[in-house]
Amino acid sequence: MWASSTANALRISCASKAHLSPAFSLSRCFSSVLDGLKYASSHEWVKHEGPVATIGITDHAQDHLGEVVFVELPEPGGSVSQGGSFGAVESVKATSDVNSPISGEIVEVNSKLAESPGLINKSPYEDGWMIKLKPSNPSELESLMGSKEYTKFCEEEDAAH
């Protein structure tokens, strides 16, 4: 908890797709927030590129969860509403719903997570992506937080407890 508060106080914000070291290594003690993504208050991120939006959970979220051991994902072809749950993540400490920041049709899921759920810890913004959507209402992105806002949100959430 202390490390998490310190990490949030010394917030790192990365503009580039920086490679992130594994979650459990001693050298890794800060949660990162990437510019260019949008963030939900339930700690999911979304990257909108053309007709497709990619979704995953944030570094802050995976850090709190601990080592991920199982990921439950939907089948492609289904749809999800903004704020609705599309799957779950099981870690050694708990299970947690994963909620979609935007509405849309699921066009792809990350099949690598079945064999390698730890990708969510090692690479939450890249190899640990969870689903890809065709957004049904792109204006929903405007209701989400940018990197600075999400950083502040995490700091306030940690400070309030």
Binding site: E72, E90, K93, A94, E157, H161
Partner: protein, 269 residues
């Protein structure tokens, strides 16, 4: 169930059950977590028959001595929360807290804070009784586990449910394999060297009474009964917790048996 409690203190609806089947309890919990907006404490003093309960990602072939389970017709449930496999029976006491994310001051809706909060609550329950600790995700006396936990977090709520080994049958441990993933403090101990009985420390009624008293330090506790909940139930909700069918278990056993045959053939070549 929804009227306000003392000023600033959230209401916790207490449901006391006795001998309710674990599948029914889990269905109730899943429904309350997903469809209710109230806080709940469910205490089930024993379940009616020995039942194996796996976590959400549990694989019977890896976790169970499947032939024995089939032979003795032990029911197997896959619950909606994560974590390990337990064999529950009339010697098990269940305590579950279901809370809105802001219900407990100072507790973030994340695994660690929820575990620490529960550890502090049970510290009050077991004050002066044994050498109680929260150890990784378990409740222990010394270094022996008597309580296992499984928190689960949704967007706006969380559940923390615990099964306490007030007593257990030694022979029932034979249905469970040693899991691949174990807490560090377990070291290399088998089931019987790793667990202990709460009955050696506290009676059932004192434990339950003390737990309710400890809950009252955080909530305004109001008793309600199962009938009251069932009449207002959301009948459309379909729980994911399920009882595995005999066919599913037989398929696992058949596949396990075929794998053994293939393996022994490979060695004999």
């Amino acid at each position: 169930m929804g009227s306000p409690g003392k000023i600033g203190v959230p209401v916790m609806n207490l449901v006391r059950l006795k001998g309710v089947p674990i599948l029914q309890q889990l269905h109730l919990e899943e429904r309350l977590l997903r469809t209710s907006s109230h806080n709940w404490c469910i205490i089930n003093d024993a379940t009616n028959q020995p039942t194996i309960v796996m976590g959400v990602s549990g694989k019977p072939a890896e976790l169970l001595e499947i032939e024995s389970v089939l032979c003795d017709q032990i029911p197997v449930v896959r619950r909606f929360t994560g974590g390990g496999t337990v064999l529950v029976d009339p010697g098990t006491i269940f305590v579950t807290f279901i809370c809105n994310k802001d219900a407990v001051a100072g507790v973030q809706p994340h695994p660690q804070p929820i575990m620490y909060w529960s550890g502090a609550l049970y510290n009050k329950v077991f004050q002066g009784v044994g050498d109680f600790h929260l150890r990784e995700n378990d409740y222990v006396f010394g270094d022996r586990k008597f309580g296992g936990n499984a928190p689960s977090i949704t967007k706006n709520r969380w559940i923390h449910h615990t099964s306490f080994l007030w007593d257990y049958e030694v022979r029932n441990m034979a249905y469970l394999k040693l899991p691949a993933r174990v807490p560090e403090y377990r070291l290399a101990r088998g089931h019987l060297e790793f667990i202990c009985r709460m009955k050696d420390y506290l009676s059932r009624s004192v434990f339950i009474d003390r737990t309710i008293e400890a809950a009252k330090t955080h909530f305004s506790v109001r008793s309600t009964d199962l009938e009251a909940i069932e009449t207002t139930a959301n009948t459309k909700f379909c729980p994911s917790t399920k009882l595995l069918t005999m066919q599913e278990l037989e398929t696992v056993a058949k596949f396990a048996s075929q794998s053994k045959v293939s393996l022994s053939q490979s060695f004999s070549l």
